[in-house]
């Protein structure tokens, strides 16, 4: 091993949502310092939720992240409905899944094509990649566009949609609109299938690591907006019990918090979901996955991109299934009468588990709010991964290669740094 | 042709007439015919930016090509005048009622213009000059605020050299070396020798100037019905839907832009119209 001192500083990460940077110091073949700094300015969402009425929450939390607003809205709706003791209708639950399918499609297609794939094909950005792989990029943009359309069907616009409310939706789409959407979805199925094959064929490094997967699990379906929280090391809890098992720490260099499960790093997101829910795949998706010849569960983090491609397929198939026998419901949302109480909600954001908790008074005014986004949950795992992947890659590699590999590893997690900024109040006792 | 759908036109030639006035020679790319009458206008569309009403200045007989002279006044006209040859714009038209060219046959024609009001009149001049035998004497009276504003100088010289054509120029403010008249264009009327009973007058320019002009011509003995005015109003749709160009009960885009003096006499200069 060479006796060299390497100091890599990537001041601004590209192709991630939000802004972060990486500090890496290698001395005498050893990593002496490795830190992912998140310097997204704090926006204090949990604080300004206090004093707001329950029906404003959906419009507020959406603004935490422009890429996964639905995830924030759906976890919030669930938490508030739990606090008020409301059960949404079956139609609402189905349409929330459809709504969510739109977000997965949009966010995953964006990540796969615009953010991650250029790494594996040797491009700086999608603009360069589009010249050499125009069809792959166009296919990606089409799928992303389809996701946006699906969101618009129920939410009017794709960023910060306005259609969802506590109790359901403000308006139900008409049967004509849904029929048109069904046609769009079935026309997109070949794209989704081709994307999975294409993703499986991308040259990704072999880098098996041991890690704990965490996701929701639903009694019968692939998890979107409902379920219990499970892990592959024996966790199986109701969402209300989240904070008895998971805890956050604040580290100095970052405006984000780091989460741990029983003191250990863990993974949330597409790969974790797929690993834990292989038996919940729609039949068509399961078959497609088998055809790739890549065996799951996988402990290669670089299979995250394939997992995203798979979830794009799942989203298309699920949305088609849920819209197949669509009928306009008599009511699109149940009326809400606020009562004082506490409610928790957890759903699967494109980047993984997103947990929220609200305390309300009898006027429906928020007295306390907590939001734990996926990026903070992956933060600790991401640092462990960087340590391991870079060592496996070889610390004696050239600086540029090391830097690129580090960035590739980070982008793999699709960290959404905008989300990672406004975390829950720290437990003062622990200080 | 669908009047709501712009056709595409390509800029063949661009010439600067004055520091802020540019002529664009256009060819429609769809190859379809384009027929218009002098005094009519087009809506020119700078893609994604907006549409403006611009008179056609070329001769209706010129096959395939059409010409517009545009003064850079605001958003869209500034963008249009900055375009280079090869550039493409959208074009709807022609719209409106043009000059009474048939009615004027066999008569003398007096054209009175002010400022860039000359644009709609140029196509009339072209029309008459290329059908010289059908019309009598042609008098062109052009007034500008400042001599710098005078465009088509060379053309005025050419026209004035033609038989039976009289050109009189007036500037409110003259630069040194100006040989024309100094003063409002209406003060040129004293020098006109009109056969009032067989003369048609065509006016365009600022509304105050047209009103003064029309009144002055009546004093000279012209029949009110033989005086025609081309009005300019802010336009949006050009097909009589939006009301932006409305003056009284008239839609300038559809019932105009050319009106007989009695049709608009009571409206011109009335507050609120």
């Amino acid at each position: 091993m060479t006796e060299r001192r390497v100091s890599i500083h990537v001041p601004a990460m590209t192709r991630v949502e939000g802004e972060g940077s990486l500090r890496l110091r290698i001395e005498h073949g050893k990593i002496e310092e490795l830190a992912l700094d998140i310097f997204e300015p704090p926006r204090y969402f949990e604080k300004f939720l206090e004093g707001r009425r329950y029906h404003e929450v959906m419009d507020i939390v959406a603004r935490i992240c422009g890429i996964c607003p639905i995830a924030y809205q759906m976890s919030a709706a669930q938490a508030l409905e739990n606090a008020f003791g409301i059960t949404p209708t079956a139609w609402v639950r189905d349409m929330r899944r459809v709504f969510y399918c739109g977000e997965w499609l949009q966010s995953h297609a964006l990540h796969v094509h615009l953010l991650a794939a250029p790494d594996f094909l040797g491009f700086d950005s999608v603009i360069g990649m589009a010249e050499k792989h125009p069809e792959a990029v166009r296919r990606g943009l089409r799928l992303q566009g389809l996701g946006n359309e699906l969101i618009r069907l129920l939410g009017a616009r794709s960023v910060h949609p306005v259609g969802a409310c506590v109790g359901g939706f403000f308006r139900a789409p008409t049967t004509e609109q849904v029929a048109a959407m069904r046609d769009r979805l079935s026309a997109a199925l070949p794209d989704a299938e081709a994307l999975v094959a294409w993703s499986a064929a991308l040259p990704v490094p072999d880098d098996d690591q041991a890690f704990v997967n965490v996701s929701l699990r639903h009694p019968s379906d692939y998890p979107f907006a409902e379920g219990r929280i499970v892990s592959d090391n024996g966790l199986d809890i109701a969402i209300d019990d989240y904070d008895q098992h998971f805890e956050e720490q604040h580290r100095s260099q970052s405006t984000a918090l780091f989460s741990a499960l029983h003191g250990e790093a863990y993974l949330v997101g597409p790969l974790a979901r797929l690993n834990l829910n292989l038996d919940r795949l729609p039949a068509a998706s399961r078959e497609l996955l088998a055809q790739t010849g890549i065996s799951f569960p996988s402990s290669n983090m670089f299979h995250s991109l394939l997992a995203r491609a798979m979830e794009i397929h799942i989203a298309v198939v699920e949305a088609m299934r849920l819209l197949e026998y669509y009928a306009e419901p008599p009511i699109a949302h149940v009326e809400v009468t606020p009562v004082a109480g506490v409610g928790c909600g957890a759903t699967e954001a494109p980047r993984g588990l997103l947990w929220q908790r609200y305390e309300l008074d009898d006027q429906g005014i928020i007295r306390d709010a907590r939001i734990v986004p996926p990026t903070s949950q992956n933060q600790a795992r991401l640092e462990v991964d960087l340590q391991q992947s870079l060592r496996a890659f070889g610390l004696d590699q050239a600086d540029d290669a090391l830097r690129l590999r580090a960035e590739t590893v980070i982008r793999n997690y699709d960290p959404c740094i905008s989300c990672a900024t406004h975390f829950l109040k720290i437990d003062v006792e622990r200080r | 042709m669908n009047p709501y759908l712009p056709r595409e036109a390509q800029i063949i030639k661009r010439s600067e007439e004055s520091p802020n006035t540019v002529s664009l020679l256009l060819r429609l790319t769809d190859g379809q015919p384009y027929d218009f009458a002098p005094g009519q206008f087009n809506m020119l569309y700078l893609y994604g930016c907006g549409e403006v009403a611009i008179s056609v200045v070329s001769d209706a007989e010129d096959s395939g090509l059409l010409m517009h002279t545009i003064r850079a006044l605001g958003r869209v006209t500034r963008g249009l005048t900055a375009l280079k040859p090869g550039g493409r714009i959208g074009l709807r038209g022609p719209f409106g009622r043009g000059w009474p060219m048939t009615e004027a046959e066999g008569q003398d024609v007096v054209i009175v213009t002010g400022g860039l009001g000359c644009a709609p009149s140029v196509s009339v001049i072209h029309h008459i000059l290329s059908r010289r035998e059908r019309y009598g004497r042609l008098s062109i009276l052009q007034g500008v605020k400042h001599t710098d504003d005078l465009i088509w100088r060379a053309q005025y010289d050419t026209w004035s050299a033609l038989p039976d054509v009289e050109v009189m120029l007036a500037a409110d403010v003259a630069e040194p070396g100006w040989h024309g008249h100094v003063g409002l264009v209406t003060t040129l009327f004293d020098r006109l020798h009109l056969a009032a009973d067989r003369t048609v007058a065509m006016l365009c320019g600022p509304e105050v100037m047209m009103r003064a002009g029309a009144e002055g011509l009546q004093v000279l003995g012209l029949n009110a019905d033989s005086i025609h005015l081309s009005m300019e109003r802010n336009m949006q749709c050009a097909v009589g839907h939006c009301g932006h160009c409305q003056i009284g009960a008239h839609f300038v885009c559809r019932n105009g832009p050319v009106f007989r003096w009695p049709e608009v006499r009571s409206l011109l200069g009335t507050r609120g119209f």
């Binding site: 949502e17 604080k47 404003e56 946006n148 960023v159 720290i426 | -």
Partner: protein
Amino acid sequence: MQRPHIAVHKFSSCDGCQLAFLNAGEDLLELAQLVDIRHFLEAGIADEYAQVDIAFVEGSISTSEELTRIQRVRANSRFVVTLGACATAGGLQALRNLDDSNEAWKHAVYAQPEFIQTLDQAEPVSAHIEVDFELWGCPVNGQQVLAAVQQLLFGVTPLDPRDKVCMECKRQHAVCVMVTEGRPCMGPVTRTGCGALCPRFGRDCYACFGPAENLNTDAMSQRLQGLGLPPSDIARRFLFINSHAPAFHAAGRPFYREGFADD
């Protein structure tokens, strides 16, 4: 002809407005042909110091680092265009300006507040540098952004529609939710641009596009009172996504008690 250079910069924001570009689909690829994108981190293009013709700015200015950076953006750009409520009016995070809550909230949220460097206020870009054109909305409407780009490429000042969402309702044939259902709709004081999305979806507008021109906030407040809203709710209506926009700030402030408390 040299292609114009453009940059997209992010400050305190949710990234939603940049998506106007990243969600543009084929238009994004076309745009990349028409202009030279010199800096756009999320799209993978990094050259923070690039001299550009047009800089698009997302997000409000809330840290001293951002302040330095926005001044540099101004120095390096011919036109600066703000994208959305955060950059144009401070956005949702400007709510902390209401009670000067920065310090208190920082201590409440972070275990080690001394590591969090923030300015006392989260402010619009125009509070710190001269801005050439502002696009409203949370998020901006993608069509509007592409239209503005197109107009700027022609050297034309972009159109700036400022009439009210109500006008849009009429154009879209949307039934008024205030008249028919008594919903506290903010459309009468809110700038057009979204296409009256909320009323078309059967809900009241919550003013995400900011104040319209010639707005009558007094009449609006009276109407909201008439609909039975207590003062704290009227304050919440005005002091929301565009709380720092002067017209909304002035309208909401008289009804506001610290933390949206009721009297």
